[in-house]
Structures are given as C-alpha cells and as structure tokens.
Amino acid sequence: MANLNTQPVPRSGISTASYLLSIVRLALIFIVLCGLVYPLVSTGLAQVLMPSQAGGSLLKDSGGKVIGSELIGQQFTDAALFQSRISSIGYKAEASGSNNYGPGNPDMLQRTADAVKEWQAANPQVPLSGLPVDLVTNSGSGLDPHISPEGAMVQVPRVSSLTGIPAAELEALVNEYTEGRDLGIFGEKRVNVLKLNLALMERKGL
C-alpha cells in the first residue's frame, strides 16, 4: 500500500533535487526519442522505401518535365481547359486555406452568385440546373485538386467548342480520369483536374 501522507515530494530517502533531476532527464529522453529519433527515422525509411510518395507525388508530362504535384490543384485561366474549383488563395501552395465564410456571409453569397453568372456566360450550351455546386464554391484547403465527375462533364461542351475535339471523345477522357470511391465505398467519385488537363493537352498536341 502506498503511503498516503501528503508530502508533495518523495519520501524514502530520495531528495527533492534528485526527484526534479529525474524529471528533467526523463523529459530530455522523450524530447530526443519523440522529437528527433522518431521523425528522422520516419523520414529515412520513407525516403528509402517510397521516395516518390515521400517527396510530394510530383507529376511529370510525357517529356519528363515536372508540372506540379498530382495532389495539389492548379488554377486554369484558359477557357479551353477544364476549370478547377474557386480558391481564394489562387492555388498558391506555399500556403493553404480559405476565407472561412459563414453560410450567411454576404461576401460569400455575392461571390457565389457572380461565379454562377460568369459560368452561365462562358457555358451557354448547358442549362444552369446542370451546374454542380462544387464548381462555384471555395474548397477548405484552397488547393482541392478535384472536381466532381458532373463538374467535368458540364464543361465538355465548352472545351469541345474551343478545342474542336469532339464531345464524345472528351466525355470518354473524363470517364477515363474519373476516380471511383476508395475501396468502392469511401469518399466521393472525383476527377483530378490537373491530370485531366495534362491528358487533354497531350491529345491536342497530337
């Protein structure tokens, strides 16, 4: 049974100084173990075993030139390419985040209404009811690499008319680049815009 007297410091011959020194030594051991050994061993193992993933999953074009990371979205200004979602940081990946607008924030509602109007002007071939909400809203990270498959499909008529590539061919391309749910159940179906546009540009180049 432990002695329940109320002395705050150890009994039984251990002095306060050596008790406190033990705490400092214990803290130092875990600073080294958790703060240096663990992350550096992790880095070493990751770099040796999986260098590509550990390095940020860089994406190369067919010529071998790095054009970004497959995980990080990019801004596309050319209307002949598929467009990404809205990003208040313009897909500048040295930072991340968004405006954190509340659902009733007038700036957010105005921005969304403007985006809808702009979209209508750029895509007159498609009825407004076909525009999925992900295309006119800001992702949380500001770096979302994906759009919904519907969001890619509704852009096909515009891209087709601007590039001259037949719509059927573009639809096939979108289908090819549509990723399913993980393990068939988790998450949402999605299209990686950078990969899709890379394929589109290489198709145009032919």
Binding site: L4, G97, G102, P103, L128
Partner: protein, 558 residues
C-alpha cells in the same frame, strides 16, 4: 452510399474496441504479459538513464505533481526552441523567431493536447520546431493524458494504488504511441503523404506559371496528431490539405486513428472494474450521444445552404463551401463529429463554413467534452458524470449513493462539482468578456449571429482542449493568444487534478457489500440515466448561448 460508408467506419471501430481495450489493460494494469518481453528492455534503459530504477507507488498528490512538473519541463523547452528557431538548424525556409504571446499560446496549446493554432505551419515554424517541439509535445501530452486516466481508473476501481506517473508515462510512449505512430507514418507515406526535409518546391505549372509547393516531414506529424488526439496540422488547412489527407482512404485511417484509443478506454475501464458490462455501459452512452449529434451534422450539411440552393444550380452534393470534393458531405460530417468528440481538433472541412445547425454538432460535442473525449480525459469526464448520476439517483431514493461498491460522499461531490462547473465558467465568462471589448469583437469576420458563434467556438475549443476553430476569427493577437492560453490551462489542469483527488479519496474507502438495494451501474437503465444526466447538465448550461448563436443564425437564413 453516404450513410453506408459512415456505418462501415463505425462498425470497424466497434470491432477494434475489445482487442485494443484489452491491450491497454495489460499496458496499465502491471500484470505480466507478452509485451513485457518486447518493450521491457527499452523501458529499463529509459528508467536507468533518468534515475528512476526504483519507482514507488504514488499518492494522488505526488502523482499530480509529477504530472505537472514533467509538463512544465517540456513546455519550457518548447518555449525556448520556438523563440530561437531562427538561429537553430533544420530551417531551410529561413523562418524567424515566433512572437512572444504567440509562443505562449502555442506551447500551452500543445502541452494541453489542445493544438489550437494561431500560427500557420507553412510560414510560422521551422522544420526543427515542427519535429522537436510540435511532434514531441503531441506525444508527451497524449501520454500524460493516458497516464492520469490510468491512475483515475485505478483509484475508482479500488486498486491498491494509483500507480507511478513516470512508469505510466514511459509505457504510454513505448507500448502505445511510438510503435503505432511509426507504423501509421509508413502507411500514410505509402498513401502519398509527404515525409521529407527538403524546402518548399518550385514547379512550372501546366499553363506555364510557377507554383511554390510547401512540403516537409508531414506524415510523422500527421500520425501522432491523430493517434494522440492532438489535431494541430502541419499546414494551415490541416487535414483538408491534400498533403495531410490525400484521399478518402487516408481520411478513414485518420478517423480511426483518433477514435480507437479513446473509444477503447471504457472497455479497459471495464476490465479494471472486473465487470465488462460497466465498460460497455459507458461506451453505449458515448456512442448514443455521438450518433445523435453526427446525424444532425450529416442532415444539415446534406441539406445545404438555402441561399445557395435558391440559385438554381445542382446542389445534390449538399453544402460544399469549405469542403473538399474527395470527402464530400458524408466523410466531412463523420470527420467533424469524431474530431470534436475525441477532442482532436483536426479538420478536413472548415467548421466556420458549415450550416448553422451543422455547426451545433462540433460545438455540442466539445461542450459535453465526454463523448469518447481526448486521450484519457474523455473517460475521466464521463465517469465524473457517472458519479453525478449515481449521486442524483441516490438523492431521489434517499440512499447514500455508491459507485463500484464505494460510498460517494460530500468530498467527492464537491470535487466533481468543481470539475463540472469549471468548463462552462471558462467558456461563457471569456466569451462575454470578449464582446465587451473591441479587442475581442474586432476579430470577428462574419457578420450577424455567426460572429457570436465564432467567438464562442474559440473558447469552447480551448476549454475542451480540442483546438479546432471557426478559423475566420482573426485570432493571432495578444488578446486572443493570452485569453485562450489561460482557458486551455484551466480546462486541462483543473479538472484533471480535481478528478485525481476524487480517485485518491475513493481508493481509501472501505468497500460496502452489494445488497438487493444497491443501485446497479452496469445495466441499460444506468446507461439511460447517464445519457440523461449528460444532456440535462449540458443543455441547461449551454442551451441559451446555442440559441443566440447557431439557432438564431438558422432562423435568419431559412
């Protein structure tokens, strides 16, 4: 599909509870078992190096002091590194020293397992700070929480002693967090989470522009961030960032990583009490409250924002402002509920952008602070409510209340009252104070009732040691750094110390024999009463402010 994938994740969790809870019991009960052979040698080395080869049983006061002194030592180290990071190695991006009040806030935030972040990781921290301060405190704060929970459980189940803090602290690292984190890091890297010491990359984009891409040792932080229910992200966007959480699969892994250990603690408690039904009863109460609040968020977010729904576009995805396409509303709702239940505080969608009713879920889970809860602390809080429930029932039938065969008397109830009342006090008082001054009000970035919720959320999150935020709030000012710093300290240490005192006093009591008149605490009736107690205390305290914030906002939107 949305509901199916949520049910699958919950089912996996339930299957993990028994094996993980049993393992935790062996870690903390001191019974000899196979894991001694694997870890015993390393642990003996650590004890020897720190001069702790003799480890005596501790009284509750000594246990609490050892916990405090260890935390103070770690925090002092963290403070120094952050203030000096500009001139220390492993700083390829040339990050300068952190400002004083922000450093104060940051080290408290991480030692209290809160991980409220008033800085942005990409620009505010060197790689050295990310690993040796942030990652290190994520381990040690989680291990500290686990240790005190183990001591509390030993006390109320009448074990011989509360144990030895240092031994619990070491074992939590060597047998739980370090091996699990290393394994999870490798899994995350395989699923494309970066782990590198290279500086920010620069690439030429498809359209011919340039893009700077921040990278770093992300995976090793990401794994302990969830296993330790810490929640502080490597990047500003936290688990919404594609490098922290690249796919729905990593999302599910992160959810299970932060959920499994807190959810297994009730089972471990059942083994300590030598009555597994006790443990399952507590678990059932937690899961019931969890599913109720998760459903609210799922329903509200799938329904979307009425003002956007009126624009005539296709809104079948629900509310997508602040959400990622790969997660959609279902994986976002589940993450939100788990991260605030388990007091992790990582986010895979921006809580500030959620619909008003949806945002009640994270607020309520943090206000209750006992639905699974953070490393160890959630179980302690739920057992505190269990003591209160037994006490209320005792008052109703006019019997001295008993819990696990021990009488609950005035001293225990006073301490429980302190632990229960401190939570609303440190939330509501500073929220009111923030509105009295321009220092607080000036930081609000969303007009109307939503602004009230922004301020409220910041203090709820600090008090519950959660760390998520309504991140629109411009909170990196001396006012917010200092007030939330103090709230985090009180939120962590007052209740832990009060509950350790309860454990110390219950342990000393003579067990009373069970009779026909004993109120049983291991059946469905008790689970129901426990849920009722949690809801009544929680609702009575926080309902008015919920009405002023999210509910008023909902009424203006719809």
């Amino acid at each position: 599909m949305g509901i199916v994938q949520i049910i699958v994740v919950i089912a996996i969790l339930v299957l993990l509870v028994k094996p993980v809870g049993t393992y935790l019991y062996y870690v903390f009960s001191g019974e000899t078992n196979r894991s001694d052979r694997v870890f015993g040698g390393i642990e003996r080395g650590i004890y020897k190096l720190s001069g702790l080869s003799r480890r005596e049983e501790m009284s509750w006061k000594k246990y609490a002091l050892s916990f405090l002194f260890t935390n103070i030592t770690l925090v002092a180290f963290g403070y120094m590194v952050l203030r000096l990071q500009g001139s220390l190695p492993l700083n390829p991006n040339g990050t300068g020293a952190m400002e004083q009040s922000l450093t104060f806030n940051t080290v408290i935030s991480f030692i209290t397992n809160t991980n409220l972040q008033h800085y942005s990781g990409e620009t505010g921290l060197s790689y050295l700070s990310q690993i040796v301060v942030i990652t290190m405190l994520m381990f040690t704060s989680a291990a500290s929480g686990f240790a005190v929970a183990a001591a509390f459980v030993r006390g109320i189940t009448g074990r011989q002693s509360l144990g030895n803090f240092f031994e619990d602290f070491v074992k939590a690292h060597t047998r739980v967090f370090l091996p699990a984190a290393l394994l999870m890091t490798l899994v995350l890297v395989a699923l494309q989470v970066p782990q590198t010491l290279k500086p920010t990359l620069e690439v030429a984009t498809l359209e011919g522009g340039t893009q700077q891409i921040a990278v770093g040792p992300v995976a090793s932080l990401e794994s302990i961030k969830h296993l330790g229910t810490n929640g502080g992200g490597f990047f500003g966007a936290n688990s919404a960032h594609p490098f922290e959480n690249p796919s729905p699969l990593t999302n599910v892994i992160e959810i299970l990583a932060m959920w499994t250990l807190p959810a297994s603690l009730p089972y471990m408690y059942g083994l300590f009490a030598r009555n597994k039904r006790q443990g399952w009863g507590i678990f059932a109460a937690m899961m019931t409250l969890f599913v109720l609040l998760l459903s609210l968020n799922y329903y509200a977010e799938m329904k979307g924002n009425p003002q956007i729904n009126a624009m005539g576009i296709d809104v079948s995805q629900g509310s997508m402002e602040g959400k990622e396409v790969r997660f959609g509303a279902p994986q976002s709702a589940l993450f939100t509920a788990v991260t605030t239940a388990a007091t992790t505080g990582s986010v895979n969608n921006m809580h500030d952008t959620q619909t008003p009713l949806g945002s009640i879920t994270p607020l309520a889970l943090m206000m209750l602070n006992n639905v699974f809860g953070g490393k160890g602390v959630g179980l302690m809080n739920m057992l505190m409510y269990a003591l209160l429930a037994v006490f209320l029932c005792g008052l109703m039938v006019g019997r001295t209340p008993e819990f696990l065969g021990r009488k609950i008397e005035a001293r225990e109830m006073k301490l429980v009252a302190v632990a229960i009342l401190i939570h609303p006090l440190i939330i509501l008082a500073p929220t009111a104070a923030a509105f009295l001054t321009d220092l607080g009000q000036g930081s609000i970035t969303n007009p109307g009732y939503h602004g009230l919720t922004q301020v409220l959320y910041e203090y709820v999150s600090s008090a519950a040691n959660n760390g998520s935020g309504f991140e629109g709030l411009a909170d990196n000012t001396v006012f917010w750094n200092v007030t939330t710093g103090v709230v985090m300290l009180l939120g962590r240490y007052v209740s832990i110390i009060a509950l350790l005192a309860v454990a110390g006093s219950l342990r000393k009591k003579q067990p009373v024999p069970e009779t026909i008149g004993t109120f049983r605490t291991d059946n469905g009736l008790f689970t129901g009463i426990l849920i009722g107690t949690v809801l009544i205390i929680g609702a009575l305290t926080f309902l008015p402010v919920i009405v002023l914030g999210p509910i008023a906002e909902h009424l203006t939107l719809w």
